[in-house]
Structures are given as structure tokens and as C-alpha cells.
């Protein structure tokens, strides 16, 4: 092997080790530094429990909404014929170019107390900002593009022939969608759902702004990590961070298994 190749490998791996691997391994060490007992009490703290379940609740609402929207929008973008399609595509991708903090701010400007719809919502007794609906909306916005992006290419690859075949065989549009289109694109959709779920679980900036961060009420797991850290409860912070990191590793595993299925690799 040439020395330049060895040098390249050494530099690249050292960079990854210092930036990525060592810090990630370090939190596992820091978490269990003082044994399992403090970790166990951190996990069973009521606020930690509440944060965990609230995170799951938000994911359970935002992810299905985005999945349905994503499939519908992908169909529209890929199969529809209309003006302004490129513009619509850019609009869908916009949340990836916007800072999560700005997403939060924009939502406050519409749904907050002084926002555009503030009075209208208040008159109907609906609270969006500083409560779960706002957190669901914020989460849905930041991961809006995933399912659309992952579904459009598989839809293109599937083509219209099999849908038309279903039609000539007597299937209604609805039957053709459920029995031919959806099974044909399912792995792309699932991949998008995995990415959406990972991002939704970890969303911090946008949710931080719209939640009001009330302990035991509107605190998700990522917000709980920050809260513990700022209250010098490092075991609590590390433990919650490790739970989230394990979920992230599970996501990676799922992505890799799915990539093998679909023979595709897409960056988030």
C-alpha cells in the first residue's frame, strides 16, 4: 500500500474519531461513571418519565400527519400537471433551510398571543403556543420534507404503467392506490418515516420556543436534557442524552437495513 493512501486513511479516521466517535463513547462513560444506581433514579424521575412520554405523544401525532401529507404531496409533485410545481417543491424543502429557532418564531408570530391568529384562537379558547398543539405543529414543520423527498424518487421509478394496468383490470383509483401504488413505494415511505421519527424525537430549537418549557408539562426529552444540564444535574442530563442517543443508533440501524432493501442511500 502506498504511503499516501495510509496517510489519507489515518487522517480521515483520526478526524472522525476526534469529532464523532470519542465524544459519543464519552457520554456513555460519563453516564455510568458513578454506577447504575444514579442512572436508575434519573430514569425513574417523574419529570424524566413525563418528558419521555410527551416526546412519544408528539411523535405519535406529528409523524402520521406528515406521512399522509408526504405521500399526498409526493403524488401531486410527481403525477400532477400544473403550473408552479417547481415553486411548490421549493416551498416544501424550505423547512430544511430555515433555522429551527426561526420556525419557532414564525409560529409564535401566527399562533401566539400577539400573533395573526392570536385573538381568533383566544376567542375560541384554543391555546396553541405554550401547549402541545404548538409543539406538534413545530415538530411537523421541521420534518415536513422527509417523506416527500424520499417518496418522490421511488414514485418516479415505479412509473405509471402498473397503475394504468390496475385501471384496465377494473380497479378504481382508490383500489389502484392501496393495492398497487402504495405497496410499490412502501420502502421509500418507510425510510422517510424513519427519518421523520428520528428528527421529531430530537427536535429542540423550534419546540423550545413554542413550548414555554414548563417542567412536567411541556418539557420534551431534549428540553429535559437542557434543563437538567443547567441545573447542574449532570447524571440526569447524561442519562436522558443516552436514551436519545440509543434511539438515534436504532434509527441508524433501521436506515442501514432499509438501504440494503432499497439499494439506495440518501443523506438526511
Amino acid at each position: 500500500m502506498s504511503s499516501s493512501k495510509l496517510a489519507a486513511r489515518t487522517i480521515a479516521l483520526a478526524y472522525l474519531a476526534l469529532l464523532l466517535l470519542a465524544p459519543v463513547l464519552m457520554i456513555f462513560y460519563r453516564t455510568f461513571e458513578h454506577g447504575v444506581a444514579p442512572v436508575w433514579s434519573a430514569v425513574s424521575a417523574p419529570n424524566a418519565q413525563h418528558a419521555f412520554w410527551l416526546s412519544l405523544e408528539i411523535v405519535a401525532i406529528a409523524v402520521p400527519l406528515n406521512t399522509v401529507f408526504g405521500i399526498g404531496m409526493a403524488l401531486l409533485l410527481e403525477r400532477g400537471r400544473f403550473r408552479g410545481k417547481a415553486l411548490l417543491g421549493m416551498l416544501i424543502d424550505l423547512p430544511f433551510a430555515i433555522s429551527p429557532v426561526v420556525v419557532g418564531l414564525s409560529l409564535v408570530l401566527v399562533y401566539g398571543k400577539t400573533g395573526w391568529l392570536g385573538d381568533w384562537l383566544a376567542a375560541r379558547g384554543i391555546q396553541v403556543i405554550f401547549s402541545v398543539p404548538g409543539m406538534v405543529i413545530a415538530t411537523a414543520v421541521v420534518c415536513l420534507p422527509f417523506v416527500v423527498r424520499e417518496t418522490v424518487p421511488v414514485l418516479r421509478e415505479l412509473g405509471v404503467d402498473s397503475e394504468q394496468a390496475a385501471e384496465t383490470l377494473g380497479a378504481s383509483a382508490w383500489q389502484a392506490f392501496w393495492r398497487v401504488t402504495l405497496p410499490g413505494i412502501r420502502w421509500g415511505v418507510v425510510y422517510g418515516v424513519v427519518l421523520t421519527t428520528a428528527r421529531a424525537l430530537g427536535e429542540f430549537g423550534a419546540v423550545s420556543i413554542v413550548s414555554g418549557r414548563v417542567e412536567g408539562q411541556t418539557q420534551t426529552l431534549p428540553l429535559y436534557v437542557q434543563d437538567r444540564f443547567e441545573n447542574f444535574d449532570s447524571t440526569g442530563a447524561y442519562t436522558a442524552a443516552v436514551v436519545l442517543a440509543l434511539l438515534a443508533l436504532a434509527t441508524l440501524l433501521a436506515m442501514n437495513l432499509l438501504t440494503r432493501r432499497t439499494h439506495r442511500r440518501t443523506a438526511l
Partner: protein, 255 residues
């Protein structure tokens, strides 16, 4: 028809209305008010820090991202598949956890004796962590498809390894590197979660643009928050647009 209506409502509630409200808020007091908000010294310092750190991130990612991609495609070593899978970790990891992870090794009580917490270096470090996959993942597929025969042909014509790299490999990879760094830049400009813990958010020193925006929202100074938001959003879109344009021009020659 009903479906299209529902898609439209969802998109309006989630994206159209909020973006419109943001633009309206930032332009409320006219160009003068907008200018006043962004030329506030603390805002200006935060914007400068964000843009400078993002620029450094672009350069480092262009070099190291390409190197990592090259090693993952052209080199063989035990554990390569695992390294390859781990590249996506920063995308999968919640941003607040990214901050905690970096603090665990490079913060106070660092076991390796490096404490960058509350310094500007921590801003760059956190941004490098969260943007790591962009260049690697955009260069990798191009490198995979890059015909070895092209490099061999160049070598057979008498070109040395460095000449082959400079004249054959890099020009072919350029569009992928550019689009990767464009995405890195946009992400770095807006990054928030990984910064809040490790940088300490010291005004005029380590307070990034997104953190400044967050602070202004907490202080209910929404006009200032909106102005800086729009400025940083424009910077991100400008870079995405310009570099996207450059990629399209280049790839016309390459393909």
C-alpha cells in the same frame, strides 16, 4: 380535489402563514427599522460570528468531508462498514445531545485536557459535528461512479498521482463538494441546539445568530428576532442558490 385542498391547508398552516408572518414582522417598520435591528451591536456581533464560523465550516468540510468520502470508497480496512454507517450519526442524534456529547469530552473536566467550552472554537466544533455528513454523503456516490479507467488513462499518459487528483478527480467531484458545502452552510447558519450548552452564549463573544434570536424572543422583542431571522435566512438561501447555480453550470461540462 378534496385531497388537494387538505394538502393546501396543511402546507398553509405549517409553512405559508408562518413564513408570511415572519416576513411581515421583519418589514413592519420599513427598511429603516429593519436596518436598526440588525445593526444593533450585539446582533451584529452574533451575525458576524455565525457567518464567519459557517465559512470556516465550509472550508473544513470541503477538505475533510472529501477526504473521508475518498477513504470510505477507495480504501479497504476492517470495520469500514461500521464507520460508514456512523457517518449519519450527527443527523440522527438530537442536536441538544450533540452539544452534551461534545461537552462530555471537550468541556470542563475534559479527560484529554482540552476544554473549549464557552470559546469561539466550541462554536466551530459544534457546527462541524452537526454538518459532518453533508459533504461525505454527497461526494460518496459520485466517487463510486467515477470511472477508475479515467484515472488510469491519465496515469498511462504520464500524469503523476497529484496531477491525476488535481486535473481529473477533483474537477469531477467539484459539483458534489459544492452542493455538500452549500447544505453545510445553510445548516450551520441556522444551527441552534448543539450550541446552547457548549458555547455559553456569551454576547459579543460566543453568541451565535440563532441564539441571539432565541434570546430576543424570550425578551419579547419579536421585531429584532424577526429581522435577524430574515437576514440569516436570506444568507442561507443566497448561498444555496448561488452554489446550486454553480453546480448546474459545472455539471453541464462534466456530464
Amino acid at each position: 380535489m378534496l385531497g388537494k385542498g387538505l394538502l393546501g391547508i396543511y402546507l398553509t398552516v405549517l409553512v405559508l402563514l408562518p413564513v408570511a408572518a415572519l416576513l411581515a414582522k421583519s418589514g413592519n417598520g420599513g427598511i429603516g427599522a429593519f436596518w436598526r435591528e440588525i445593526s444593533n451591536p450585539e446582533a451584529l456581533a452574533a451575525i458576524k460570528l455565525t457567518l464567519a464560523a459557517s465559512a470556516i465550516v465550509v472550508i473544513v468540510n470541503a477538505v475533510f468531508g472529501t477526504l473521508v468520502a475518498w477513504v470510505l470508497v477507495r480504501d479497504e480496512f476492517p470495520g469500514k462498514a461500521i464507520v460508514n454507517a456512523l457517518i449519519d450519526l450527527p443527523f440522527a442524534l438530537p442536536t441538544i445531545v450533540a452539544g452534551v456529547v461534545l461537552l462530555a469530552l471537550y468541556g470542563k473536566n475534559s479527560p484529554v485536557g482540552i476544554d473549549v467550552a464557552f470559546t469561539r472554537a466550541s462554536v466551530v466544533g459544534a457546527l462541524l459535528f452537526v454538518t459532518l455528513p453533508f459533504v461525505v454523503r454527497s461526494v460518496q456516490p459520485v466517487l463510486l461512479e467515477l470511472d477508475l479507467a479515467m484515472e488510469e488513462a491519465a496515469a498511462s499518459l504520464g500524469a503523476g498521482p497529484l496531477t491525476v487528483l488535481r486535473r481529473i478527480v477533483l474537477p469531477t467531484l467539484a459539483p458534489a463538494i459544492i452542493s455538500g458545502v452549500a447544505l453545510s452552510f445553510a445548516r450551520a447558519v441556522g444551527e441552534f441546539g448543539s450550541l446552547v450548552l457548549i458555547t455559553g452564549n456569551l454576547p459579543f463573544k460566543t453568541e451565535a445568530g440563532s441564539v441571539y434570536i432565541f434570546g430576543q424572543i424570550q425578551n419579547e422583542n419579536l421585531a429584532a428576532a424577526a429581522a435577524v431571522s430574515v437576514l440569516l435566512l436570506l444568507a442561507a438561501l443566497l448561498v444555496l442558490g448561488l452554489l446550486g447555480f454553480a453546480v448546474r453550470r459545472r455539471s453541464r461540462h462534466v456530464l
